[in-house]
């Protein structure tokens, strides 16, 4: 096997994998505090991209455009929770989950109307140069994606392990009733987590835009692949979800490079299907993850 080809597939795979990993993490966190799989999760990546790119195009400084896109992700995540989930908290889970699918469609439609159907681009944060590793050539922007993802993951990890609110999120995931008994306000925590998930997905969306462009219909692919990562982690383990997201990015890139780009999605979903069949099916999974709370 040619090493430079291998590296040329592996590293870009890790770059998109970073985005999937952050989406997967958002899925896991939202599902654990609210009981709802938020299928609009991937749309926040798209929104981060299109909002960041158009703020920049309107003459905002880069840092302000990034901050604006991230803040918009947080705000929209919080609004989604308040407007579409909080009012139906008592409804069965599948209804709430269906609502998140509806929200995804609406966000996509609004993005199409507001930002147009053509992909938006952004220059690399530190120029459009490239660098070379082991014979492979990568855009310098990849370093921004890896750095931002690592920083976000570290922040999420610190939050979960070392803050009172983060500990409460984990407690809710383990035993909601007991967490309520400790005085945890699950409503407030859910709002917080939706805002955080929206912000981190949007930030991921801005930093990858110089590499992959931002398009109104890109969210669904991010969402599905992040969802696959979350499933690999059984909707419980943030760490496995992260690794799953990264792995899917790499798998997809290898599938495109070594097989054919036309088959990459088929291969990713084929692997998911095989995994689910081996573990007893998506329904057993969904129940185990969501009803055991």
């Amino acid at each position: 096997m040619d090493l430079s080809v291998f590296v040329q597939l592996l590293l870009p795979g890790l770059t998109t994998g970073c985005v999937y990993a952050l989406v997967a993490l958002g899925f896991v966190l939202c599902a654990n505090v609210s009981g709802v799989v938020n299928f609009a999760q991937g749309e926040y990546v798209m929104l981060g991209g299109v909002i960041g790119a158009s703020l920049l195009a309107q003459g905002m400084p880069l840092a302000a455009a990034i901050a604006g896109a991230t803040a918009a992700g947080a705000l929209l995540g919080a609004l989604q929770e308040r407007l579409t989930l909080a009012p139906v908290r008592a409804a069965p889970d599948f209804i709430q989950i269906t609502i998140t699918l509806g929200v995804a469609v609406v966000l996509r439609g609004v993005a199409l109307i507001a930002f147009g159907k053509d992909p938006l681009s952004m220059p690399g944060f530190s120029g459009d140069g490239v660098f070379e590793v082991a014979g492979a050539v990568l855009p310098v922007q990849s370093l921004w994606v890896w750095g931002a993802s690592a920083a976000l993951l570290a922040a999420v990890f610190l939050f979960l392990m070392h803050s009172d609110a983060g500990r409460a999120v984990r407690a809710c995931a383990i035993n909601r009733q007991a967490a309520r008994l400790m005085g945890v306000d699950a409503e407030r925590l859910t709002l917080l987590v939706f805002a955080l998930a929206g912000a981190s997905a949007a930030l991921a969306g801005v930093v990858v835009t110089p590499i992959v462009l931002a398009n109104w219909d890109a969210g669904i692919a991010y969402g599905l692949k992040g969802f696959v990562g979350a499933i690999l982690g059984n909707f419980r383990s943030p760490v496995v979800a992260l690794a799953g997201g990264l792995g899917i990015g790499v798998l997809e890139s290898f599938a495109a490079g070594y097989v054919s780009s036309g088959y990459k999605d088929a291969i990713v979903y084929g692997v998911l299907l095989a995994y689910l069949l081996a573990r007893g099916g998506v329904f057993v999974f969904g129940r185990a993850a969501l009803l055991s709370r």
Partner: protein, 255 residues
């Protein structure tokens, strides 16, 4: 301290509690005994605001807390040790304790130190996952976790569940110790004999209603209570009551 007046509550359309009145005075240990499904846990959960009160008043030191949400109720000074402990199994002992202080922060370090002093075994196991503790240790952790909220009144739901007889005595001694340290406790138990041995007063609940209410020793000696909850052992007599008092003194003295 806690006063329930004609409280009714239930789940959805099925009522469980029917006009329950009950009182716990400051510094008391009050026992609530009754068969499976009588509504004991429902009563504790209604007090904590987890189950909605449909009627009646729940007062803590005169203030009606019946309409408050659980976090606010915890902040007024109530904490519950739930049935089957409900620990956060994969979190460490110390993290469980910190969760106990979630709604009432401030001097968490001091309270942690106090709980470790009270239950030295927990200090030894502080980094261990809660689910790896023995049943007795888990019950101690559940009690310590509730104590972390610095409650004025502690609600205990079946602390003896699943424990060996010696450990049951140990846990009851801990409850007595809490009271000796100035605490007030309402404890629900299936093991009526064990709990009435340390309680001051007791209530008997049947089908969501309070049917008996008396000093603990009198309940232990009561014929109908014995038949229903103590396996019909012993005769109702002064001799039985004297035996009970002697046993109670032994447990409270830590023997």
């Amino acid at each position: 301290m806690l006063q329930l007046e004609r409280v009714s509550s239930g789940y959805g359309r099925s009522p469980v509690l029917h006009e329950v009145s009950l009182e716990v005075g400051a510094g008391e240990i009050v026992a609530l005994v009754g068969a499976n499904g009588a509504g004991k846990s429902t009563l504790l959960n209604t007090v904590m605001g987890l189950v909605r009160r449909t009627q009646g008043s729940i007062r803590l030191e005169g203030r009606d807390i019946g309409g408050l949400a659980t976090p606010a109720i915890v902040r007024t000074g109530l904490a519950q040790v739930p049935e089957r402990r409900q620990l956060f199994g994969t979190m460490s002992v110390e993290e469980n304790l910190r969760m106990g202080a979630y709604a009432r922060r401030g001097d968490v370090a001091g309270r942690l130190a106090a709980q470790y002093a009270l239950f030295p075994i927990l200090a030894e196991r502080r980094r261990q996952a809660a689910e790896t503790l023995s049943g007795g240790e888990q019950q101690m952790l559940a009690i310590a976790r509730a104590n972390m909220a610095a409650p004025r009144l502690l609600l205990l739901d079946e602390p003896s569940l699943g424990l060996a007889p010696l450990m049951v005595v140990r846990i009851m001694q801990e409850v007595a110790r809490l009271r000796a340290a100035g605490g007030t406790v309402l404890v629900v138990e299936q093991n009526a004999r064990a709990v009435l041995a340390i309680a001051d007063r007791g209530y008997v609940m049947e089908n969501g209603r309070i049917t008996h209410s008396a000093p603990a020793a009198a309940l232990l000696a009561d014929r109908s209570v014995q038949d229903a909850y103590l396996g019909g052992a012993g005769a109702s007599s002064r001799a039985a009551e004297a035996r009970i008092r002697a046993r109670r003194a032994a447990i409270l003295a830590g023997r």
